[in-house]
Symmetry: C2
Subunit: 416 residues, 2 copies
């Protein structure tokens, strides 16, 4: 199977702030075709350096994709550099120029003279039509390589690649079928998960198993190649189920859904509702829940009770309880969840109270968070201590709260 390299062009991608995100999307698309990306380069708007970068890529990789640098200005050097690297000339295409002119007319504007530069095409290249912008893509074949020039704006690059490149690439690749499985888990760290399932997946090079971790959220990804769909599925069926058995109820999604979407769907299916009472997360839990379109089907609202006075006033937590146990305690988390449930009339309520840092109490260190869940006949509180900085602690608290509700819903479902 041929390898690919991606070269992103643009001086703005060499600043401390800009990230080349196109290559992530392209890598995903190429992986789905069974192609691995072996190198990525980011080069500024410098003709000589870009030319040598392309030349080096052509020596190693059968698929070279360039993104960006197809604009109309002197700074847009991708066409020239690719022509120089390949040793071909460029040809003016009147029909591309006409299309650009037409595009400007459509916006009630006149084409700039410099836009004519975008009508030059490398000798022998196939023009890849770009309905979203002025710069067409280009597809150049050499005896050993395919070179693809794509426009930089993601809104142009993605549809152009999907429409013009995917099928063309597939036709050049050895016949194969890719099938994938996704398991999203929470409540287990990356290295623990790896230790758990490595005895299975390390026995196989096909499917390829990838573990992707972000704080509180670890995804397992299987990708099988076969000559037929049945063959690829059979490979997945050999490796997938034993992994699923080991991961057990840590898996919250088999289809790529986020944790908040999975929990929301469970609530909707049960016809139940949810409210929240947040202290150290200040609204992030509700913010995450309502990030799901249609969350108004089950989320009614909540309380951001950042002070003790607000916990008393909004949620009816008793002053005595706060004095006896402090605001960061199992008792307070329970009272907050019960209070939210009572005040809103929701079926379920989640609460979060803790020290996100930098300040904490003498007895309770930074990172200590109590998470409560109240529901029909249910009163659960989980005490956790998260490592890291303020934002990480708050984010982990949100994930843990969602997972606690997920587990309470599972338990309630089993009982019902």
């Amino acid at each position: 199977m041929p390898d690919a390299e991606i070269i992103a062009v643009g001086s703005e991608l060499l600043t401390p702030e800009k990230i080349d995100t196109n290559s992530l999307w392209l890598t995903d698309q190429l992986n789905l075709l069974g192609v691995e990306v072996v190198r990525k380069s980011i080069v500024g708007d410098e003709r000589a350096l870009l030319t040598s970068t392309i030349k080096t890529a052509l020596e190693r990789s059968a698929i070279v994709i360039l993104t960006g640098g197809l604009g109309p200005t002197e700074d847009d050097v991708t066409r020239d550099a690719a022509a120089a690297a390949l040793g071909v000339s460029q040809v003016f295409h009147q029909e591309i120029c006409d299309a650009i002119e037409e595009r400007f007319r459509g916006f009630g504007r006149k084409m700039h003279e410099i836009n004519k530069r975008q009508a030059y095409v490398l000798e022998g290249a196939t023009v890849l039509n770009n309905p979203r912008g002025t710069a067409p893509g280009q597809w150049i074949e050499t005896p050993t390589c395919v070179v693809i020039l794509l426009p930089g704006p993601p809104g142009e690059l993605k549809p152009l690649f999907a429409k013009e490149c995917q099928a063309r690439l597939e036709a050049r690749l050895p016949k194969q079928v890719i099938r994938t499985r996704f398991y999203r888990t929470t409540g287990i760290g990356e290295s623990d998960l790896d230790a758990l399932i490595a005895p299975i997946y390390t026995k196989y090079t096909n499917p390829v198993t990838t573990i992707l971790a972000s704080p509180g959220d670890v995804h397992v990804h299987l990708r099988a190649r076969g000559t037929t769909p049945e063959e690829a599925e059979a490979l997945l069926e050999e490796v997938g189920p034993p992994i699923v058995e080991l991961l057990g109820d840590r898996i919250y999604s088999f289809n790529g859904d986020t944790l908040e979407k999975a929990v929301g769907d469970a609530l909707r299916a049960r016809g139940e509702t949810l409210s929240v009472a947040e202290s150290c997360t200040g609204g992030l839990l509700g913010g995450r829940i309502t990030g799901v379109a249609g969350s108004s089907d089950y989320f009614v609202g909540g309380f951001q009770t950042y002070t003790e006075a607000m916990k008393i006033q909004m949620l009816g937590v008793s002053k005595e309880l706060l004095e006896t146990y402090t605001a960061v305690s199992e008792e307070t988390a329970r009272a907050m969840a019960e209070g939210a449930r009572e005040k809103t009339g929701s079926t379920w309520a989640l609460s979060v109270t803790g020290y996100a840092g930098p300040n904490a109490s003498d007895a309770t260190p930074v990172g200590t968070v109590y998470i409560g869940c109240a529901g029909p006949g249910v009163q659960e509180v989980r005490r956790v201590r998260f490592p890291g900085e303020r934002e990480r602690i708050r984010s982990l608290a949100v994930i843990t709260a969602l997972d606690l509700l997920r587990r309470c819903l599972m338990a309630a479902g089993a009982k019902a």
Copy 2:
């Protein structure tokens, strides 16, 4: 001034999910030394490809920084590839091995045999001590280049670079002084801001002006080089003030503070407090405000009123008002802010109600958001229509709410 290249090593950085963020931080540090990054490469754990990538970099750039691949396993190929590219051998350093062993002992564990690989140093290299991890960095000088090997984990890389590399690099560079100014703005788009200040900054190549935009937030960054601090400051003094005058009160921060930090500091300085009432943002506004350490000095809490019933019950918005004007209206936003202020007793209150999508009403399209601010003698509502997807609309609503409060505080300050 010499140029730099950064090579990030690690197969995980060639997956669709992982981003090389080290290079962004390193670029920032290098820019502050006056050094530009001209190319970045990302290579997997492949010795041959990495060796040739390093060789190519050495031909072009005087500073070559490698990140990652210094671990103890066979997959960690940076040491070997750098040695091969430079044509030098590696030497075992007993004192590094002892330090690694000591580190393991500190955790009550025994060093693995494979960790000895981390005690090999390129011939002639300076060892860069890494107190946060087992892999030391390495600094290698050739007649034309400096090659720096840094560990991949950001928590190790950053302190190591700051402590061991910054001064060493500075000593090699032509004597110069860099001085910077930052202006953070909101309420103006990137292209409008550029059109506004381009007549000034395009006249100067020193200072270099960079405009960095994320939705709702545009930063202007000036970077001047001089032979003395006075010279660099004088250059900034020529370009900065005219830009500040044009940007006016769109600037919310001169020191890199976030909008929520700037607003929070203003509240603290006035000894005033804040509450929120959120509908379509579901808690994101409170979440953002409480992302600032010490926000409990001024933030008391808030209400996530996702349904009409909750707006009535929690905030005292009248049923008639909701029936007459709907939940997404100027009147509701005003009543929500007033309700939050009254219920919590805070000096100020912000409210957000709108259609984040995908659903909206017939009369009011997706992206329409009303933002209210209530304070002493103040009742402001802003109607905005944001483009884009749900998350973008919600994020822009949060920024606009913070900016409305900032402007109300400025106006109140001017009156007082």
